[in-house]
């Protein structure tokens, strides 16, 4: 265990045990599928089994006549209904806005990926709905599918959307004005390293599949949607305003306990709109529970970039310029945040931890007949980190220099640092995290461990890399300029009860991160009361103020900051009340350990006395302040936060089979201030697990006809406990964020961002130790691929 664990007993910095785990681990959580409403009906979606086709006829009479069937819906029922909206509009290098196709709730005339919903049967039971779905007579004229991105952009390629000019969503250049200077720097370079690579398509596969329950109250005309969401307010806005035309005050969205999301539960999905719509149409609650098979073909996928990256260096091995060319798969429709991922969450991170002065990033986003692709843990930043850290390792190889030394030489060392890709890093200390990494990874002992592996007939490799990410998403005015159709502030209402207990209603929403534990630690520290006196409520738009939810490692940095601001208001008001009670001046009141005292005297009143006075205002300055103690704050961050770190991975490769085993993994992260070190460790562990999954195991594969080959856990390899080692995780290097009140940076995605290049660097290093001329292997590094690479 890192040494900071258990250093404090409570409040900020304490490794408080996750209180939510009691219900999660004892089967007493309340997940969306646990919600069963009176008179609930069930929907089964008939989904396309072809990647691209025209619906020539759809006959539902037989299905509608089946026992228990309430109604069969098709695209025709949704003609007057809005399109599933996209939340981000990217402007291309020529100043044109992206091509934005319609995304119907149920297919209108055409199907565009395997899994695209065509019809929906609502019945008394889930089995009856499924039986009836089989009785729908459907004729689809199959059309040639586009799966490969290059092929999709070729002249004359079949179009995913007939009404668009091509399959190109946008051609984005960043920073376009730098392009000529970047090209010139390449011409002048002493050395250029280039690398073509694939960032493999992933399926998030949270443990809890998606569920939606729509409900309608005929008496009030109110709609309610219970859904597996990371951001219920966002769903309320997108679905209410853009799809179904229900104003916020007539629509409640509830996301109760959420069993993991990793990004895939940010987005507004057709099934949510369907259940809300059908509940009203039928005046019955309507429930959908995704099967794992449906999840594979309907949850947004992640990553799926094909990139060429080039790094220019001068004669002293200083990085002088970076140039990248990326094809980014959008899938068949634009999912909620899809356009932002390969652009603003990717291009802006290409400087990494290095002072490369000139950078140009080109991204072509492409429509294909595949499931939509959107943010997945790290979202854009893993793609940026992977290519950058791989090309640096390759450059070190070509130049015959130590990869750690090459990185150190090019580190940014002065902060704040304005990158050539439009962002300003407020703080960081990349030398410190690299020093820490070398220590905890015992880099010095690697040679001995390699010799030992060699004696056992194994090839041992070491891979090191750095990462930087932009978290605490995001300043609203900035993202507005970049095309976001939403603000990215966060909110909190702090409600103090008469006897001193506190309920915080926050717009951020935990889907496993432990907010119910860490958020109270902050308030407890601010007031000096026990953590147990604070409770978090989230996930219900009827309680919490409008918030943007949880993703982009933003909850503590942005949501926590809103909570701090609201608590500051509470404290200011409570001091006024205390001053009144003690007949002192407001300015003389101090709050410490839950006691208000008058400076320089022994007079004091307890937190509970003040909160009681607020609600039983017998002796109270009613002419000056209102009774009650409840405050709301909205917090809009001034900048992103920039967590960073250095990771090291050691692998053993079986030279006969190509099987890679991860022997050691070390992570030195700088997350700024830490509220709960144990939760941070857990977030890093999980992130690295997913990164190892991406690097070694996970790959979502379509065949050339758009059939999903990795459509179940039989073929899609998730990391299991024995695929990952014990991690050495350290977050003692702390350069606090300068612009949020907690000085925190966010830790949710770091592990998934920082780990894949370390793994690949390590495997390449291992193979080279056996004299193999291998410079890159595409992920996942399955035994078969590693073996093939060794055959040359």
């Amino acid at each position: 265990m890192p040494k900071d664990i258990d250093a404090k007993e409570s409040g900020i910095g304490a490794a408080s045990k996750r209180r939510e785990d009691i219900r999660f681990l004892s089967g007493t959580g309340n997940y969306t599928d646990d919600i069963n409403l009176n008179g609930q009906a069930y929907v089964h979606f008939l989904r396309s089994d072809v990647a691209h086709g025209r619906i020539t006829s759809i006959e539902t009479a037989a299905a509608a006549a089946m026992p228990g069937v309430l109604r069969v819906f098709t695209g025709a029922d949704f003609e007057g209904v809005g399109s599933i909206p996209c939340g981000w509009q990217v402007t291309d290098r020529f100043g044109e806005v992206m091509q934005e196709p319609a995304h119907p709730v149920l297919a209108q005339g055409k199907v565009r990926h395997v899994g695209d919903p065509i019809a929906a049967v609502v019945a008394e039971t889930a089995e009856a709905a499924r039986d009836a779905a089989e009785a729908i007579e459907l004729d689809i004229e199959e059309l040639p599918a586009v799966v490969d991105m290059k092929a999709a952009l070729a002249e004359g390629a079949p179009k995913v959307h007939d009404d668009l000019t091509s399959n190109l969503c946008y051609d984005w250049g960043f920073v376009e004005e730098n392009k000529a200077a970047v090209d010139a720097a390449f011409d002048a370079a002493a050395h250029v390293t280039s690398l073509e690579l694939v960032n493999n398509r992933l399926v998030a596969n949270p443990m809890e599949p998606r569920v939606a329950v729509g409900d309608f109250n005929r008496a009030t005309g109110d709609s309610t949607l219970y859904t597996t969401s990371q951001n219920p307010h966002v769903i309320r806005l997108l679905m209410g305003a853009f799809v179904l035309g229900i104003p916020e005050h007539k629509l409640r969205v509830v996301a109760p306990d959420v069993g993991g999301g990793f990004g895939s539960k940010i987005f507004h999905y057709a099934e949510e709109a369907f259940c809300t719509f059908a509940a009203k149409a039928l005046n019955r609650a309507v429930k959908w529970t995704s099967s794992r098979s449906e999840a594979f073909m309907s949850d947004a996928h992640g990553r799926d970039h094909v990139t060429k990256i080039e790094l220019a260096l001068d004669a002293d091995n200083n990085f002088t310029a970076l140039r990248t060319d990326t094809l980014a798969n959008m899938g068949a429709y634009l999912s909620t945040f899809a356009p932002s991922v390969p652009t603003w969450l990717h291009g802006t991170l290409m400087a990494g931890n290095y002072k490369t002065p000139l950078i140009y990033v080109n991204v072509k986003a492409v429509f294909t007949n595949t499931v939509p692709v959107d943010a997945y843990r790290g979202a854009g930043r893993p793609e940026a980190t992977f290519q950058l850290e791989r090309v640096i390792d390759k450059a070190a190889l070509e130049l015959g220099v130590d990869p750690i030394a090459l990185r150190r030489q090019n580190f940014i060392t002065e902060f704040p640092y304005a990158t050539p890709v439009a962002v300003e890093y407020d703080t960081g200390d990349y030398v410190a995290t690299m020093d820490k990494l070398e220590e905890i990874a015992d880099i010095a002992g690697f040679a001995a461990r390699r010799a030992e592996s060699e004696r056992a007939g194994k090839l041992r490799g070491l891979g090191v890399n750095c990462y930087i990410e932009a978290c605490g998403i995001a300043p609203s005015n900035l993202v507005g300029q970049l095309g976001a159709r939403a603000g990215l502030y966060e909110s909190a209402t702090v409600r103090v009860n008469a006897t001193g207990g506190i309920v915080v209603m926050t717009g951020s929403h935990s889907h496993g991160q432990g907010h119910e534990t860490s958020f109270p630690q902050v308030i407890a520290s601010m007031i000096g009361i026990d953590e147990d006196m604070v409770e978090i409520e989230h996930g219900d738009t009827n309680n919490a103020p409008m918030g943007m939810g949880t993703y982009g490692s933003r909850s503590l940095a942005v949501g926590g900051s809103a909570m701090v601001r609201a608590t500051e208001k509470i404290i200011a008001k409570a001091k006024k009340i205390a001053a009144h009670l003690m007949e002192a001046a407001d300015a003389d009141i101090e709050l410490k350990d839950g006691q208000f005292s008058v400076a320089g005297t022994d007079k004091s009143v307890a937190w509970g006395d003040v909160t009681l006075a607020a609600y039983v205002p017998h002796n109270y300055p009613l002419e000056e302040i209102e009774p009650g103690l409840e405050e709301t704050a909205f917090y809009d961050p001034a900048n992103f936060t920039y967590p960073s770190g250095a990771y090291a991975c050691e692998v053993e490769v079986d030279p006969e089979t190509g099987k890679v085993s991860i022997e050691r993994f070390a992570a030195a992260d700088d997350f700024g201030n830490i509220v709960n070190p144990m939760i941070v460790d857990g977030q890093v562990h999980g992130g690295i697990g997913q990164g190892i999954g991406q690097a070694l195991l996970e790959g979502c594969v379509y065949d050339e006809n758009g059939q999903l080959l990795s459509a179940s856990f039989m073929d899609y390899a998730m990391p299991r406990a024995d695929d990952v080692p014990f991690y050495a995780v350290d977050h003692s290097c702390q350069t606090p964020c300068t612009h949020n009140p907690l000085g925190v940076k966010g830790c949710g995605e770091a592990g998934a961002i920082g780990s894949p290049p370390a793994v690949v660097n390590a495997v390449v290093n291992a193979l080279r130790s056996a004299g193999k001329d291998v410079t890159h292997i595409d992920m996942p590094l399955s035994p078969a691929r590693v073996w093939a690479a060794m055959q040359g």
Partner: protein, 262 residues
């Protein structure tokens, strides 16, 4: 799943009778069949559970061999109860996960004859005898290609008789996602020769690698087969590995099985 009737007979005779109704199907541990039903890929009218059939239980050693394993015996029972044949017990202990091993049965596995399953390699590699309700079948005659066996409609695997070799070992190289065998090799050395059975690799299902058997019968060392290869042509090629890779693994896993059993 579609609706079906369920019965749990107590004897082979009752089970055979129950299976004679149209579209009735035997249910072993359900580890293959239940997922198939859930995906609505099968539509039996009646499921005839074999878990209560008395004659299909238990593991018993007849003298110095064979080891007789009831058709309804689970993988977990073999893993812990087939001490007389350690290589077989070890193989059973590597099938799936604990839940699969606690439900899945040897009869179900052999009846299903998944090309990536483990037991077919043990049965073929040991020269086992498959005992059904009507006959005894030599393993060499029983396996007839992917998901195909000599079993007739309604025929039940009642027991499997394993001769016990002087030395044996199973090496399983797992497919990364399913952790079934991508290539699994069972090597068994008997007084009169060596048998080598390969699962996971071939488009024809489990097979005996005759050249390796001959070489190993002459010289039971890994070196004896270091230059032998199987033809990549008949091998499975898929997203987890090419035909050439599987052909290569057959050699590697065979050598490792020989080392481990020698």
């Amino acid at each position: 799943m579609y609706e079906f009737e369920f019965t749990r007979p107590a004897s082979v005779a009752e089970a055979v009778a129950a299976l004679s109704t149209e579209d009735a199907q035997a249910l072993g541990g359900g580890q293959t069949l239940i997922p198939t039903l859930k995906q609505r890929l099968a539509m039996p009218t009646t499921l005839v559970s074999l878990s209560g059939v008395a004659e299909m239980q238990g593991i018993r050693l007849e003298g110095d061999g064979p080891l007789v394993i009831g058709g309804a015996v689970t993988h977990a029972q073999v893993a812990s109860g087939a001490g007389a044949y350690p290589a077989l017990a070890a193989l059973a202990g590597q099938i799936g996960d604990p839940a699969v091993r606690n439900r899945g049965t040897i009869g179900g596995s052999l009846a299903n004859n998944d090309p990536a399953a483990c037991y077919p390699a043990a049965a073929l590699g040991s020269g086992a005898t498959i005992v059904t309700n009507i006959r005894e079948l030599a393993a060499d005659d029983y396996f007839q290609g992917m998901f195909t066996t000599a079993l007739e409609e309604g025929e039940i695997v009642v027991a499997v008789k394993f001769p016990i070799p002087d030395a044996a070992n199973y090496q399983k190289f797992v497919q990364p996602a399913s952790r079934f065998a991508m290539v699994g090799v069972f090597v068994a050395r008997f007084a009169d020769g060596v048998r080598v059975a390969v699962t996971g690799a071939s488009e024809e299902g489990v097979f005996r690698w005759a050249e390796a058997e001959a070489a190993l019968t002459a010289n039971f060392t890994p070196d004896a087969i270091s230059t032998l290869t199987v033809d990549a042509d008949g091998m499975i090629g898929d997203i987890h590995g090419t035909k050439a890779y599987r052909a290569h693994l057959v050699n590697v896993m065979t050598r490792r099985a020989v080392s481990a059993s020698a």
